[in-house]
C-alpha cells in the first residue's frame, strides 16, 4: 500500500539503496483558511502545501511567526482538519476523518512534544507516560511495563513517582519525549521543544532527538532557531503559508 505513494516511482532510485524508503506522510495541495470561507474575515494560513515525508527523516520546519508553521503542525498532528487538499498518513487519508477517528490516529500513530512540556500536573511521571496507552485501551500491566522501559531510555528511572512540578525543565521535556515515544508512533511532532529551555539543557534535548533519529525515528520539528534547524537533515522554510525552500543538509 505504501509503495503506491513511494517516491521511487517519481524519482530515479539511487543504486546504493537496498530498498525504497517508505513514505509516511504525504501532503497534497493542503490549504487551511480560518474564518468563514468567502467572507471578509477569511484568513488563509496555508496556501497549498505539498510535501512528502519519508521514514527516518529528521525535518525542521522553519519560518517567522505568521508563516503558517503552527497551522501546518496542527494539521500534521491531526488536531485540525484542512480546508482543502489531502493528507495521507501511513496508509490512510486522514484529511476527512471525523473527530473520533482523528483521536484514534493521534493515540496510535503520532507522538507530540510541546514547547511547554504539557505534562498533566496531577499525575506522576509514570502515569503521564501511560496516558496515550490508556486511550488506546492497553491493559494496565502492559502499560506499566512499557512506561518503565521508556523512562529508562530517557534516563529518569529514579524519578518515576515524582510529579512534573518536582522536575527541572529539561527533565520534564525528557518525560514528554518518552511519552511521545511510548506508542511507537509513525512520526514524532515537536513544537519548539527547546523554546522554554536554556541553551545547555536545549543541547541535551537536541542530542536526544539526534539519537532518536539515528535509531530510525521520523521527527518533524517546528523551530525558528537557525542553530536548531542546522542539526536537522532536511529544512523546510515557510512564508505566508507556502513552502519557500526545502533543502537537505549534508
Amino acid at each position: 500500500m505504501a509503495a503506491v505513494f513511494s517516491s521511487s516511482y517519481l524519482t530515479p532510485e539511487p543504486t546504493h539503496r537496498r530498498r525504497p524508503p517508505r513514505v509516511l506522510a504525504r501532503l497534497d495541495r493542503l490549504t487551511k483558511i480560518y474564518g468563514q470561507p468567502g467572507s471578509a474575515v477569511e484568513v488563509p494560513a496555508l496556501r497549498g502545501i505539498s510535501l512528502t515525508f519519508e521514514e527516518g527523516e529528521y525535518v525542521a520546519i522553519c519560518g517567522h511567526s505568521g508563516s503558517g508553521k503552527s497551522t501546518l503542525l496542527n494539521l500534521l498532528g491531526c488536531l485540525d482538519r484542512p480546508t482543502s487538499g489531502r493528507y495521507i498518513l501511513g496508509d490512510a487519508d486522514v484529511s476527512r476523518l471525523d473527530d473520533d477517528a482523528l483521536s484514534d490516529i493521534r493515540s496510535r500513530r503520532l507522538g507530540f512534544v510541546f514547547q511547554s512540556f504539557n505534562l498533566v500536573p496531577q499525575l506522576t511521571v509514570l502515569e503521564n507516560l501511560e496516558v496515550p496507552l490508556f486511550y488506546q485501551g492497553v491493559n494496565p500491566s502492559i502499560r506499566r511495563k512499557r512506561a518503565l522501559a521508556m523512562i529508562e531510555k530517557v534516563g529518569l528511572a529514579q524519578r518515576i513517582h515524582h510529579r512534573p512540578m518536582q522536575l527541572s525543565g529539561g527533565q520534564q521535556q525528557r518525560v514528554a519525549i518518552a511519552r511521545a515515544l511510548i506508542n511507537d508512533p509513525l512520526i514524532i511532532l515537536a513544537d519548539e521543544p527547546t523554546g522554554n529551555l536554556d541553551t545547555a539543557t536545549g543541547e541535551v534535548i537536541l542530542d536526544l532527538f539526534g539519537q532518536l533519529h539515528k535509531e530510525g525515528k521520523t521527527i518533524l520539528m517546528v523551530t525558528h532557531e537557525e542553530s536548531v534547524a542546522a542539526r536537522c537533515q532536511r529544512v523546510i522554510t515557510l512564508r505566508d503559508g507556502q513552502v519557500v525552500s526545502d533543502v537537505q543538509n549534508d
Binding site: 483521536s103 484514534d104 493521534r106 493515540s107 505534562l119 498533566v120 496531577q122 486511550y135 491493559n139
Partner: protein, 430 residues
C-alpha cells in the same frame, strides 16, 4: 475491557477529588444535606401515618363502630341535685340492627362500667368494660398470656377478666398476673374481685405504646364478660361528686358491627346511619368507620409524602447546582489538561466520561453519607422530639437514587462543555 476502562476512569476521578479534599467535601455537603433531608422528611411522614394506620387496622377495617356519646345539653343539667341521664345505644337498637341490616356477621356490644381498678395496694385508672367473648374475634388483638374470654365465662357470668398491657405493667410489675384477683370498686355494687385469666398484647404503633387517637386504648382496658356486667351492675352508673349525684343509664357504650366483606362496609354504614337517625331524637351516638378513616389516612399520607419529599427535594436540587458549579470551575481550571489528553488521543466521550464520573462520585458519596446522616437524624428525631419515624428500604433507595440522578443531570453539562473544547485552543490555555 469496558469494565476496566470504567474502573480506571473512576480511579482517575477519585484521584482528582482527593487532590481537592476540602472543595470536594463542600460540594458533597449539598448532596449530603439534600439526601439527609429527604430521608428525615419521608421517615417523619411515614412514621406519622404508620402510627395512625396501625391503630385503624387494629380496630378492623371490616368493622363499623357505634359509640354512645353523652349529649351536650344533658350534661349541663347540674342544677338539679340528682339527675338521671338516659342516652346512647339501646337494646332496641341492637335488636333492630340484628333484624334489619343485611351483611352483618356479628354484633358485639360493650359496656363501660368503671374507671378504676386495684390489686393489693396498687391502684390505677382503667376502663372496665363488659363485653362478649366474640369481641376478641372481631378486633385484631392477641392474648399473650393466659386466654381470652370464652363462651363459658359468658354463660356462667364468671368473675374473670382479661387485662391490657398497661394495666399489667401498673398492677403486676413484678408478678405473674394470671390467677390473681383485681378489685373493681363502684358505688352501686361495691368491691367485686375478678380473676385475671389473660393479658392482651401491647398495642404498639411505630415502636411506642399507642395512646389511642380518639379510639379505644386497649392497653388500658379490663374486659369482663358482658353477662357478668349485666348481673353485677346493670345499665345504671352512678357518679358522686361533692354536693351532687349523677345517675346515668346507657345500655351499651359501643357496638362493634362486623360486616361480611370490605365492599359492603360503606353501604352498611349508611344503613346504620339511617336506622339510628330514625330511632334517636338526640344526637347521642357516633358512627365510626375504620375503613373510611383508613382511606383518608392513606390519601393524606400520599399528600404528606409528596409535600415533604418536594421540600426536601429542593435542597437536593440546590446540592446538584453546587456540583454543577464546581464541575464548571474544574473544567475551566483543567482546560489545558483536557487539551493534553485530547492531543494524546482522548476522544470526546473519554473526556465526557472523565468529568461525568467525577460528578457521579461526588454525588454518590454524598448520597451514601446522606443516607447515614438522614437515618441518624430520623433516630434523633424519635429520641428527642418523640415523633415516630419509619425508614423504609424504598426511602433509602429513592433518596440515594435521586442523588445519583442529580449527579448525572448536573454533571452532564460541565462534562459536555469539557468535551466540546477545541484541542488546539485548550492546549494554548494558560
Amino acid at each position: 475491557m469496558y469494565l476496566s476502562l470504567a474502573f480506571e476512569t473512576a480511579r482517575l476521578g477519585l484521584k482528582n477529588i482527593h487532590l481537592h479534599k476540602l472543595r470536594s467535601f463542600l460540594t458533597t455537603l449539598g448532596i449530603i444535606c439534600g439526601v439527609g433531608a429527604v430521608i428525615c422528611m419521608l421517615s417523619i411522614g411515614e412514621g406519622a401515618s404508620e402510627a395512625e394506620m396501625a391503630l385503624i387496622r387494629l380496630l378492623g377495617t371490616q368493622n363499623i363502630i357505634l359509640t354512645s356519646v353523652k349529649p351536650e345539653e344533658m350534661s349541663s343539667t347540674t342544677d338539679r341535685r340528682t339527675s338521671l341521664l338516659e342516652y346512647g345505644l339501646t337494646r332496641e337498637d341492637l335488636t333492630r340492627i340484628r333484624e334489619t341490616i343485611p351483611h352483618v356477621t356479628r354484633i358485639v356490644p360493650l359496656r363501660e362500667i368503671a374507671f378504676e381498678a386495684s390489686y393489693g395496694r396498687n391502684q390505677c385508672s382503667a376502663t372496665v368494660v363488659g363485653t362478649q367473648p366474640a369481641f376478641f374475634r372481631t378486633i385484631r388483638i392477641t392474648v399473650t398470656q393466659g386466654r381470652a374470654l370464652e363462651d363459658l365465662d359468658e354463660a356462667e357470668a364468671a368473675k374473670v377478666c382479661v387485662i391490657g398491657d398497661t394495666i399489667r405493667a401498673r398492677l403486676f410489675t413484678y408478678e405473674d398476673p394470671i390467677g390473681q384477683s383485681i378489685i373493681v370498686n363502684t358505688i352501686g355494687s361495691g368491691s367485686i374481685p375478678y380473676k385475671v385469666v389473660g393479658v392482651m398484647a401491647r398495642v404498639d404503633t411505630a415502636g411506642r405504646p399507642a395512646r389511642g387517637i380518639g379510639e379505644r386504648d386497649l392497653n388500658n382496658d379490663i374486659f369482663i364478660p358482658l353477662a357478668t356486667a349485666d348481673a353485677r351492675y346493670g345499665d345504671y352508673k352512678m357518679k358522686v361528686r361533692s354536693g351532687s349525684r349523677e345517675m346515668s343509664k346507657c345500655a351499651f357504650s359501643d357496638l362493634y358491627v362486623q360486616v361480611d366483606s370490605l365492599e359492603n362496609v360503606l353501604p352498611v354504614s349508611e344503613m346504620l346511619r339511617q336506622l339510628l337517625a330514625f330511632g334517636h331524637q338526640k344526637n347521642d351516638y357516633q358512627i365510626k368507620v375504620p375503613l373510611e378513616r383508613l382511606k383518608i389516612a392513606e390519601s393524606e399520607k400520599r399528600r404528606r409524602q409528596i409535600t415533604l419529599g418536594c421540600i426536601a427535594g429542593i435542597s437536593l436540587l440546590v446540592g446538584g447546582i453546587g456540583i454543577m458549579n464546581i464541575m464548571l470551575a474544574t473544567v475551566t481550571e483543567r482546560t489545558r489538561e483536557i487539551g493534553i489528553r485530547r492531543a494524546l488521543g482522548a476522544k470526546r466521550r473519554d473526556i465526557t466520561m472523565q468529568f461525568l464520573v467525577e460528578s457521579l462520585i461526588l454525588s454518590t458519596a454524598g448520597g451514601l453519607i446522606g443516607v447515614v446522616f438522614g437515618s441518624a437524624g430520623a433516630y434523633l428525631i424519635t429520641r428527642l422530639v418523640e415523633w415516630p419515624t419509619v425508614i423504609h428500604a424504598w426511602t433509602i433507595f429513592v433518596s440515594a437514587g435521586l442523588a445519583l440522578v442529580v449527579g448525572v443531570f448536573f454533571g452532564i453539562y460541565p462534562a459536555a462543555t469539557a468535551a466540546r473544547l477545541d484541542p488546539i485552543e485548550a492546549l494554548r490555555h494558560s
